[in-house]
Amino acid sequence: QQPVQSPQAVILREGEDAVINCSSSKALYSVHWYRQKHGEAPVFLMILLKGGEQKGHEKISASFNEKKQQSSLYLTASQLSYSGTYFCGTANSGGSNYKLTFGKGTLLTVNP
């Protein structure tokens, strides 16, 4: 079951904050976040596991709410380099824990 990401696109000015959400209709075992720049391969940002918590990576952090079956990615004080398409990938409880199903992506544009 493909997770649903929102918003589909967001435009920021440098220094502004953004939140990207990822929701699943099934119980989640883990959530991965990736960023893909135009014409490049997706790059792994972080993984959140069932029973886990909020993780951080510089000014990019994420939370995982098992009860709501969703994860959120937080980008604070955005930089131009944050521009790209962000994908969440989910592994559902009871299924393959290592095969991810990806959302359709959120296009983030950071302008000067």
Binding site: A41, F44, L45, I47, L49, Y98, F102, G103
Partner: protein
């Protein structure tokens, strides 16, 4: 190698021809995945290899698609009798097994069927 290597980077083929796409994973990565990305779309799972276990082929869209992996190294994705709807970027990824490891993706093969 330092990363996941895919070849060719671009492939233009005529409708009806067969194509082979190659993926060299990171040494030591036991898990290997193939995904397809159509223009402006998300990543669509195709197939997953894990060590010597039977591959998970549940994402292959038709019997024209097949993939092999030699041990824990190179994988080849074959598309027979290509159709225009097969045009996409085919991404390979590898990872360590375990709960805390993300995927490392290759740069992909852009397939265009004319």
């Amino acid at each position: 190698g330092a990363g996941v290597s895919q070849s060719p980077s671009n492939k233009v083929t005529e409708k009806g021809k067969d194509v082979e796409l190659r993926c060299d994973p990171i040494s030591g990565h036991t898990a290997l995945y193939w995904y397809r990305q159509r223009l402006g779309q998300g990543l669509e799972f195709l197939i997953y290899f894990q060590g010597n276990s039977a591959p998970d082929k549940s994402g292959l869209p038709s019997d024209r698609f097949s993939a092999e992996r030699t041990g824990e190294s190179v994988s080849t994705l074959t598309i027979q009798r290509t159709q225009q709807e097969d045009s996409a970027v085919y991404l390979c990824a590898s990872s360590l097994m375990g709960l805390n490891y993300g995927y490392t993706f290759g740069s992909g093969t852009r397939l265009t069927v004319v």
